[in-house]
Symmetry: C2
Subunit: 427 residues, 2 copies
């Protein structure tokens, strides 16, 4: 058991400093830990979680009880709950990450240069990663597993609603780490509910290499504003589908429907549909019927309402809103140029898709749309680490530096140059 | 001619805002500019610079005169001077960068996934790059050329000592851009000597994607501290050479000498020599003789001074100093573990080299030393974009996120995901 329970935290700065110092110290051991040992730790954590299921549920019940007393809404309580299926999924997730290739130590592009040296780049962990997230306790396991596999020390700060659940999970993680011979400080879960701990974490430049916030916009904005440490984040997902003149009707109806309706609350859900004027009359009525049947509220520009007179008018503000709800704004545009311009100005550089059978316009869309994922004839909902073959993801970045788009194990690493010589000197 | 001469700058914030706005606006044109057009612009700038040599020298003379009057030291005046050979080198540099492959648009790892979509990553410009540098006017040309080739808009801020020279060079750059049909705002040189312009630049998050400071430690520290925009930088170069038990004597004498003496003032110069205790007696005397003949002042730990009794004692503080001068600190260590520990604690994560013929120790050094370049049997002075085959470099990064080590054209780009589908949706 970790002695730092919330009750014993007398000084948040001192408590956090100790956590940071330990994380930095063990990060070197993790960086050189062999793949087999990291995988054994992941498997041991999975075993510990399965064995501790009764305890996890008991601690989770304390969180749920406190949440009810505090009047948390049903959706939040649902996300907080640790039922058997979720515990099984956490264990399964750990075993999946154990099976992924280890990115650490991989050398790329090693080649001889004129001086006779060989130069290449070796993938290395970032060092210490701080992850700040909201109520879902399974994030504790996912984040710990991704950091461990990528050779990074982790400092995790979950939502206060999940405090008891996260502490119980943390105990399982420590048990697995120790069983595999790794330091238990490889993954540290902050155990004070004091919000000042987050502020401290965001200022520990000497101990923490990168911060990953996972949660709602309020959390991500606070973290971005306060952090003195680089942040891997996405702010908004104002995603677009553009129906081009030459779009195939069948594919269009399927993809435009899926992009909006497969799930409403996710960052890669379409929020604005752009339609080339040439297709407004034939495509909008059947598509609108499908949306309306599904309960999606439609808002349109004037040209849209000329075809769909019954829908609400969209205002200028609508083009910039991430609804995260069954609401869709629709705009008729003159063609590809206006669509690209609209996306680059009003979008959030997250994920945008063109529906077209035209080779040259597909090529231009891919090149000119400045988003972390650009697609041709595919649903924006496919922008996801699993769908992209990364095996797992810690989030989706809409930043341009370092990682852009879905961030998997590789996004939690960096590359250093390795130089192999035989006595070469600079002339 | 650009109308914004220093005399007409009434409000620095308004002046900088206009520059930022223009840079952001043209960055989209640059992102989609064809390789051939960018290369023609680089060639046209080279021609314009050669044709303008008399004017460049006349404007440079005004800077030199003002510098003399302000009492600048001889070394600074030397770096400021635009002689014919330097003008020819600038033009040659532009033509070299035109010959490098264009990183923009290159797609990596495009592969089919189980859902039937193809997913890959396309290299894209960062957008707008701000570069802040000190007196050498040739940096204006180098930085402009690297940003242009990598498809980025550039905002350049040179030292006030080089104001007239930089304005004359800026006119040549604009001439070349326009001749190739690119917007002249693709490269903007800040023309006010007011230091407040730097502060404004560092706060223009909406217009500028990354800041690259090039210059002394004071400049880089100020920029890192004040910038609200991500910075690509290196702070210190406390580089090490470690002479292992099995080091080849001949290679060691050459490499350890070159790493210190080939140039003193560069960030990849060795500042501390580590020697395994097993080799102190046979290696240190001949090596010390070579350094002393060259005029290098030696400082040593107690164990070093047992072998070289005439040298000064090194203090603890010496292990953390970047001398940038003919001074070398020497420490005898017990072996590889102590060497790696010393480098990771006292080094600046820049460039470190092991001299060894032992396979396993070379392998461990490469994996465990946490620096942007790790080397076996090669001089630290080889850590350089040209020596690494990058063709050019805008600097060396000791950061871990995004770019690490020498930063060439690729370091000024990012990658977005491209997804090619045939109507795929999320299940």
């Amino acid at each position: 058991m970790n002695a730092n329970t919330s009750a014993s935290v007398s000084s948040v700065p001192a408590y956090m400093d100790a956590i940071g110092r330990r994380a930095r110290a063990v990060s070197r051991d993790l960086a050189r830990a062999e793949t087999g040992i990291k995988n054994r730790a992941l498997a041991a954590i999975a075993d510990a979680i399965e064995a501790a299921a009764p305890r996890l549920k008991a601690e989770n019940a304390r969180d749920l009880e406190a949440g009810c007393a505090r009047g948390l809404d049903a959706a939040l309580l649902d996300r907080l709950g640790l039922i058997d299926a979720r515990i099984a999924t956490m264990a399964e997730g750990l075993r999946q990450i154990a099976k992924l290739p280890d990115p650490v130590g991989a050398i790329e592009d090693l080649k001889y240069l004129p001086s006779g040296i060989q130069v290449g780049r070796m993938r290395v962990p970032l060092g210490v990663i701080g992850i700040i997230y909201e109520s879902r306790p399974n994030v504790t396991v996912d984040a710990a597993a991704l950091c461990l596999k990528s050779g990074n020390a982790a400092i995790l700060r979950g939502g206060s609603e999940a405090l008891f659940s996260n502490q119980a999970i943390a105990a399982c993680i420590r048990e697995g780490l120790v069983a595999a011979g790794l330091p238990e400080a490889a993954v540290q879960v902050i155990e004070t509910p004091d919000r000042a701990a987050v502020g401290e974490l965001l200022r520990m430049k000497d101990y923490v290499d990168v911060i990953v916030p996972r949660g709602g916009k309020g959390l991500i904005e606070r973290v971005s504003r306060e952090s003195l440490i680089p942040v891997i984040k996405h702010l908004d997902g104002v995603c677009h589908v553009y129906i081009d003149d030459s779009a195939d009707t069948e594919k269009t109806l399927n993809v435009a429907f899926n992009a909006k309706c497969q799930r409403y609350g996710t960052c890669n859900t379409m929020e604005t549909l752009l339609v080339s004027a040439a297709r407004a009359v034939d495509i909008l009525p059947p598509l609108a019927a499908r949306y309306t049947d599904e309960g999606v509220r439609l808002k349109g520009c004037e040209r849209t309402r000329a075809v769909l007179p019954d829908i609400e008018p969209a205002t200028e503000a609508d083009w910039d809103i991430e609804y995260l709800a069954p609401i869709l704004s629709i705009k008729v545009v003159d063609g590809l140029d206006e669509a690209i311009e609209h996306i680059n100005v009003h979008g959030s550089h997250h994920t945008d898709s063109i529906l077209t059978e035209d080779y040259s316009r597909a090529r231009r869309f891919l090149r000119e749309v400045d988003s972390s994922s650009v697609m041709v004839n595919a649903s924006t909902r496919l922008a996801d680490g699993f769908e992209y073959g990364l095996g797992a993801e810690i989030g989706i970045s809409t930043d341009k530096l370092h990682a852009r788009g879905p961030v998997g194990l590789e996004g939690l690493t960096s590359q250093k140059y390795v130089v192999l010589g035989d006595g070469q000197v600079r002339q």
